[in-house]
Symmetry: C2
Subunit: 375 residues, 2 copies
């Protein structure tokens, strides 16, 4: 088709907020490929490649590992509504906005929710989680690996082991960890996990990588009530996505999956260890550069989530109005950073150095712009 109509010019942004991150040209071109059918053998080959790559990133041999046709929030809902039946008890670790969201989603599924809270900016206390698990004997334990609202990287193993001892299923939110931080579902004993594509994978938002263990799938098959969501029912999704079945369920988001497959190729070409190291180095540089300007990390060093750094704001920012400074960064420098969520709104910034953006040049562009705005 001849080019008769220009694409409306969108401004170029350096996306250093909590997501989306910038999307590399390779991914953008892959998702712009000519359309192809969702059951076409050529598309199915790419889908299978993406499923295998996701399993590698999740550190799992779970057969049911695939990109769900909706965003990360739907991935959370899929894990909870498939594994919980009305009346089931669930222990949820809450140390940020996304833990609270898990509670809300689980309640809507009819579950009996026990929240074990930790202050925003700190990790969950494994002893408190273990006690709750022992006392409540829940069907499932759910918590967040990488709290996008606080920048805490939650240690997983102790809590997962406590859940395992109580024969509970473990659900893990990996939205801001997958592809930027080591994830090891099988080693940790996780039964269901979900992520997003617009964080450390540097793909557009719109898909949620999810993984369910065989034990989790068995639980779904053994339910006495049907899963409340037809769209998110993993048994139906398994019929559609499993190699050799391909029972029509919905029409997969073909372009987005082509883009994701390319994004995953980029991740695996770099290697997961090198990628995690690059994220750590970028976050280290960010903090080293911003501390002299008066920014203070919210999170203790051992618990920091490299892809997303949370910073208490210096007077130089708050006196100018933190939202105004962010707006100036966006409109005058083309740089997006995130404000705080929930109780941290107004008092912190969230700076994402995720995927493509975990590079020293991104840090330096932000620091230069900030120096200009604040001095």
């Amino acid at each position: 088709m001849p080019e008769t109509h220009p694409v409306p010019a969108l401004p170029e942004r350096l996306l250093l907020g909590p997501g989306p991150s910038n999307v590399p040209e390779r991914v953008r071109r892959a998702q712009g490929a000519p359309m192809i059918g969702h059951l076409d053998p050529a598309f199915l080959a790419v889908l299978e490649e993406a499923k295998a790559a996701l399993a590698e990133l999740f550190g799992t041999r779970n057969r049911f590992t695939l990109p769900l046709s909706a965003t990360g929030s739907a991935g959370m809902e899929a894990c909870l509504v498939n594994l919980l039946e009305p009346g089931d008890r669930v222990v949820v670790g809450v140390h940020g906005v996304f833990g609270s969201r898990m509670c809300e989603v689980a309640r809507r599924a009819g579950a009996d929710v026990t929240a074990v809270e930790a202050p925003f900016g700190q990790a969950l206390d494994p002893d408190a989680m273990r006690e709750a698990i022992r006392a409540i004997k829940p069907r499932a334990v759910a918590f967040v690996h990488a709290e996008t609202s606080t920048g805490v990287l939650q240690p997983v193993e102790e809590i997962a082991a406590a859940a395992c001892d109580a024969d509970a299923l473990v659900i893990l939110d990996c939205v801001t960890s997958l592809g930027g931080v080591s994830v090891a579902l099988d080693e940790w004993g996780i039964d269901a996990a979900y992520s997003g594509t617009q964080k450390c994978l540097s793909c557009p938002p719109g898909l949620s990588p999810v993984s369910f263990s065989e034990r989790a799938l068995e639980r779904v098959r053994a339910r006495s009530h049907p899963v409340q969501s037809w769209y998110l029912d993993v048994t139906l999704l398994d019929g559609y996505y499993a190699t050799g079945k391909r029972v029509y369920h919905h029409t997969a988001p073909i372009s987005a999956i082509l883009g994701l497959a390319e994004g995953l190729r980029i991740v695996l070409e770099e290697g997961l260890d090198a990628r995690a190291q690059r994220h750590r180095e970028a976050a280290g540089r960010l903090i080293a550069e911003l501390e002299p300007l008066g920014f203070e990390p919210l999170v203790a060093e051992a618990l920091r989530l490299p892809p997303l750094t949370t910073l208490r704001l210096p007077r130089a920012v708050t006196s100018r109005g933190e939202a105004d400074v962010r707006a100036r960064l966006l409109l005058h420098h083309g740089i997006e950073v995130g404000g705080g969520l929930g109780p941290l709104a107004g008092s912190i910034w969230r700076v994402g150095l995720m995927g493509e953006n975990a590079h020293p040049e991104c840090v330096d562009r932000l620091v230069t712009a900030l120096r200009e705005e604040l001095t």
Copy 2:
């Protein structure tokens, strides 16, 4: 970024199945634009434009008209789970696979479902619907405008009027009508409708345009149980999408919305009447060309859905194995056509001439390929 890695070559296909349809270069380039934040003013301007265009296509002034962040099947689920509470009675017209799906989704929402059936390939009987509505006094009446499984274009007004007389909400599936056939939600008195992007809009699959009337939104606000799905809760979505609110809910699929906005520009540049006429002409040509080869339209002329034609197969096809002939069309000629769904599997084909593909050249390519295969 320098081009160091070729995009895996996918074969070029002419997509004449039930969706996706081919996506024009303009849409593919728009969705490949550099990433931008979901709350960036520049993105929000495009989102607002897309919302306004969708309202025009739906024939509605509904403020709540937007692209839901999942495929058309999730749009169906959103309409049903928001408007139905456990125990609510609903009358569903079933004259194809998607009517049956509505029943299943409504049952999972705890609704008391009455299905009023018509044979696949025929329209719903408005008298039967009216009788059921009078007898049952349902909370809602749901049916399919354009049955993608049968190729029937269902007359809407009589059934909608009967629902209105009984003070029931009306839910309409417009997946294969929006953008290819006239849709007039306000004139017909429809309270909630959903569609898909990969049919007559010629955009990739992944979003579901939905529209809720104020009366429907009031019903949701008056519920005694929370909506079972947090992800699809229209009250939360309204907070995120309504101009001036923008309360964070999830991260919208930015690239897909940029593509959709461009696709909608193309639709409105052509004009809805001209576009509907083009779809009628293409379907007319298809039938005129295929009848001499022994294909017989499944649907009576007055009820045919121009974007999707269903055809009983001649012996020349069945004797070769209909699935084998479709596979040969795909692999040797690069043309996808759809097989039958449900009880029509094996006995019909579904040929989509939707959006970009409602052109005589597409018909002619298919006819030429078929002649070659069948003679």
